[in-house]
Amino acid sequence: METLISWAIDVALALLVVSLAWRALASTDLFKAIVLFIAFGLVLTLVWVRLNATDVALAEAAIGAGVTGALLLAAYAKLRATSPDAIVDRAGGISGIGAISLLILILLVAAALGYAVWTLPSDYTGLGKEVAANLDQSGVSNPVTAVLLNFRGYDTLLEIMVLLLALLGAWSLGITIPRPEAAPGLVLDTLSRLLVPLLILVAAYLLWVGAHAPGGAFQAGAVLAAAGVLMLLSGRELPAALATWPLRLALVLGPATFLMLAVITLILEGRVLKLSPEWAGRLILIIETTATISIGVTLTALFMGAPPGEEDR
């Protein structure tokens, strides 16, 4: 009975996730597409839970269903403010014989992918055993955090650089996302006064718990960014004194600390980010704390668009 219900849950979730994606990409109304995409992220979170990937579920809940949704909604509003014509999605540029041959091509790709997935070796064991064997050397007891910040730390270093690079790219274009003109009002103001401290608290909790349970710098950073976004939305601007070098410092704090550690380990240990077991726990906490601050500030800055103080060029 239980296996039957379990299978029904998986089938329902898979159908839901595919149909949400399909409707999000096929509906004529762009706003509808965005809301469906947010719902898609929500259901995908449940899929990660079913696949025993709780760390991923946490990241998806914070980023896929949360931050991305807010970014898309803000961009939609800006698009409409720039040119009301631009939010109309006119029917596709491909029609007739082109559309049919494209559909056949896509179906072939889908069949090939499906075959590749179907024939995945089932006796493949991956690196699970190796990670488990070296876990006590890594300084943390959550295997995903161990992989992200110790075994494959250079991946994470580059990833944080990518985030910073995206922000530099966004800043160089000089597009501001419009601030809400109306005052937030008593209700929203009270909500943000209650939620912002709670969001910061939850971010700190996720950062701390990431050492031994699902959590970590990215999830914490995304929750921190949600606090920043909520402050912006309730009309609290960054004070001009903080918008100059303190903002830049917060942006590079994580990448710079990580890079410094990479250079130091290269000199002392002879290998990039080789953390010695007795120091690993503390070093990971330092990297993760600075990274959380930088990720949170970077995502909030991406929500703003241009650097504060600069108008549309």
Binding site: A24, L79, D85, L103, G174
Partner: protein
């Protein structure tokens, strides 16, 4: 068939749906959504690599890669959205310019 394999097939489906939408639609916001859906499809296949059957020890490396992927996706999405807004500010349309000339 294991649960992971089942979801991986759904992932292959998501990738194909996203690819189709990316090629067919002209609006850039839709293309950005399509790339995100394609990415999620890839992540689902990766997750199936983490635990191809219920007996094996779940592999944390693909999970870490998916988390990395999700963060890179949000950074790329944010940059792409700003690029789209810049193009709209310049041309008044959220559509890549090349096509316009073909049609007229």
């Amino acid at each position: 068939m294991s649960v992971a394999l089942f979801y991986a097939l759904a992932g292959a489906g998501l990738f194909s749906i996203g690819l189709h939408a990316l090629l067919v639609h002209r609006h850039l916001l839709r293309k950005i959504l399509a790339v995100n859906v394609m990415g999620s499809g890839v992540f689902l296949v990766l997750a199936a690599m983490a635990a191809p059957n219920a007996i094996a020890l779940s592999d944390p490396v693909p999970h870490a890669m998916i988390i990395t992927g999700i963060v890179v996706a949000v950074a790329a999405t944010a940059l792409a959205l700003v690029l789209m807004l810049k193009l709209t500010a310049e041309t008044g349309q959220a559509v890549l310019p090349g096509r316009e000339e073909e049609n007229s």
